[in-house]
Symmetry: C2
Subunit: 451 residues, 2 copies
């Protein structure tokens, strides 16, 4: 028979079993952490009607989207989890209870030009809190706690959550009568880290006709940095000139005020006046998260406050705040950087049982008993040599191998080999189970990510 | 602004938060159970190259598939998890260790005609064990154990795993010189439960030119039923006439022999000579699972042994055995039948904290402490009346509400209301946490499915 060459499309991540286990660990940690903060899991279709998904229309989105016809219907694959959430909340509004907190970890699709580390199918892990009409600033203050808890649970310590408030920026640019160019200016300022202040100043004055005085004013403003309290004190000197600015400053102070109550160490948090996170969507607090030793990765968790989640679907005012982790890209980059803990177990089983008798009853009964004790167990009954079977456990990294021969069965004991130490015990089944469980607990006592 | 009416495509399941939690519970149970038996999680792309996905080609599949062009490439959405597995194993053959045990819970797509209870996007939950060249019969004997454990963990007791062996059927029909019509005959016999033996006999003789004697022989054969041992004894009387039959009988005896060692109660298992599960794929043991009180649902978990997983991609002989649960459909039917346990918690949080003071520090610190103790906690800081906040907990089914006013803060205690009993305690934080955890454990002590 002629064969079809098997292949996976470029830009689509398909992992081998061991790295897949690492990704599953990460997803499990995200699910658990998000749940701790009262977010409910949601799952929306991957396919939506094109006119629904593209209600906002325009831009890069439409070019990248996977769009097609089926049975006369115009369909598209979701390109993020926010638009489907907006649709969901508008559609099910009367069945939901607000504030509505949901998390969603799901695949999204963008037909970008294929390049290393860029994916066309990738997981996003989003949380959003949606209010009906209003939403307390405390929700915005809580978001850094969730980011902190998530990344610490993954094993990271050297990361920083950078926070700004769009009202502060908008108010500041309004004071300078630069509201019409605020978008261009923020985009330029956003490059400060990369191109330096001189270049920023040059672009502002040459490309966007900002006066040298205003450009200087802008550079002085975004240079405000340091400890949270110092930044807030510096910002106080701008108070009283613009109502929106003052409101933004109050909000930022609330966010900073509750940091320690939310359990966020000060070294993991910084007010950063340079970040803006896009232009037309966010209206209050905005967030970025950077790995301190890997700034080149960019932000690994971003988001912010918005006033109007579902304006394309409903007249209802639905303000919210949310963050998103680009999980597939994060996982890829961590792998590239060698930051995925190789010691964390990735084997499909905790124990491999090698029956050494023709009658398999004792081996199967033992497997059943181990499983009843929550131990992931595989029977190896293939017609292979002993050495090959040991090699199987070795290759997969199965931590324990149990041999069950006539002698062991007659003596009512189990021979169990710890594959990492080579130590072999001959104990009763209960004692063996106890030993395996203790060993597994110790092995699992590691984080997914290593710094 | 003109609004786009929000809608979800018909044939696409989109759940409200409470049922979504129930589905998540089910998925979590599937993941845990599959893991106990040494299966590793796998995740393959939803989109594949059409020529890869349709390598086998033909039939209903091609009509139902979501297929489209993007950037000059001919793409399709996967319609099951088996073809992507075949591609995966052929593509990554040299990186895998055999026997290779994987589970995958993922969405698949079929553009079927929309009708009640039929879905175009639905979850399948599959396990497969793939051998390299050979695969021991013990794997086939283990599958019913996994089915049993899965459905018991979901809360079911009144179900039965029906098992047959294709070699027995093929051998039997070969004895009657009916191999050329075996497919048609099996399809007809498969309807026995629905149309009765007379109709089966009529179809066999009239449509497929089976002689009345042979038709009688077939009906006597498929009427063999009863306790496992009785069926095996009856089958023994056919031994010696056909090699394939004898081989199938040996395999079936092995499967039955180890049932109790695998922990499968006899009432949950039956040899059933009428089932065949499709025609050209399975070659050994085949499985169906029926709910005894809901036979109209049909099989909720099916599969079998096959000789050649990836024949369209590779010359390698890759035999395997696998089963699949149509999770979305199962979930839908359970809901329709009122079999989803309404008592299992579906709230997004275990505790709702209502701060009664302007300074939110104590409330936030308490939330942080509860979360550190693994209690899913939400702060309710919106500007609403007390009654509305209680109503919020009530609507979502949040089991505990904590009030934190000046008095409690000053006294170092916490007022906590059990929303189901109305009982309110005023205890220190630690004692409150202890009480909440005990209460949560008791609440979680229920199954997802009720019979």
């Amino acid at each position: 028979m002629a064969k079809q060459t098997p292949r996976t499309l470029s830009g689509f991540m398909e992992l081998l079993p061991a790295p897949q286990q690492q990704l599953e660990h990460m997803m499990e940690i995200l699910r658990r952490t998000y749940s701790l903060y009262g977010f409910t899991p949601l799952d929306t279709p991957v396919i939506e009607a094109s006119e629904v998904l593209l209600a906002k229309g325009g831009g890069e989105t439409e070019k990248q989207i996977y769009r097609f016809q089926k049975g006369g219907a115009d369909l598209s694959l979701r390109f993020d989890l926010t638009v489907p959430l907006a649709k969901y909340v508008a559609l099910h509004y009367s069945d939901l209870t607000f504030p509505f907190r949901r998390y969603q970890i799901g695949k999204v699709y963008r037909g970008e030009r294929a390049q290393r580390g860029r994916f066309r199918e990738f997981y996003q892990a989003d949380i959003d809190i949606i209010g009906d009409g209003k939403l307390s600033i405390v929700n915005e203050a809580e978001i850094p706690a969730i980011i902190y808890k998530t990344f610490s649970a993954l094993g990271l310590r050297r990361f920083r959550i950078r926070v700004n408030n769009r009202k502060i920026l908008n108010g500041f640019y309004a004071c300078l009568n630069l509201t019409d160019r605020a978008g261009d200016i923020m985009r330029t300022v956003d490059k400060l880290d990369k191109i330096g202040p001189e270049k920023v100043q040059a672009i502002l004055t040459e490309e966007f006709a900002v006066s040298p005085e205003d450009a200087g004013e802008i550079l002085r403003f975004i240079a405000i940095s340091g400890e949270n309290e110092a930044v807030l004190t510096a910002l106080e000197t701008y108070r009283g000139r613009n109502e929106i600015f003052d409101q933004g400053l109050e909000e930022l102070k609330t966010v900073v005020r509750y940091l320690s109550d939310f359990g966020i160490p000060t070294e993991n948090f910084a007010v950063d006046l340079t970040i803006a996170r896009g232009l037309d969507y966010y209206t209050g607090t905005v967030y970025e998260t950077v790995l301190l030793d890997h700034p080149e990765i960019g932000s690994v968790c971003s988001g912010g406050r918005y006033d109007n989640l579902a304006e394309y679907y409903t007249d209802k005012q639905l303000p919210g705040v949310g963050i998103s982790i680009g999980l597939t890209r994060l996982f890829y980059v961590l792998g590239e950087q060698g930051m995925l803990n190789p010691k964390l177990p990735t084997a499909p089983a905790d124990v491999l049982i090698l029956p050494m008798t023709e009658d398999l009853s004792p081996a199967i009964a033992l497997a059943t008993r181990l499983r009843e004790n929550g131990i992931r167990t595989q029977l190896h009954c293939e017609n292979k040599k002993f050495k090959q079977k040991i090699g199987y456990a070795d290759k997969l990294g199965v931590p324990y191998v149990i041999f069950l021969g006539e002698n062991e069965i007659n003596a009512g004991i189990v021979a169990c080999k710890d594959m990492s130490t080579g130590e072999q015990t001959k104990l009763e089944a209960d004692a063996t189970i106890y030993r395996i469980r203790a060993g597994l607990d110790a092995r699992r006592d590691g984080a997914v990510i290593l710094e």
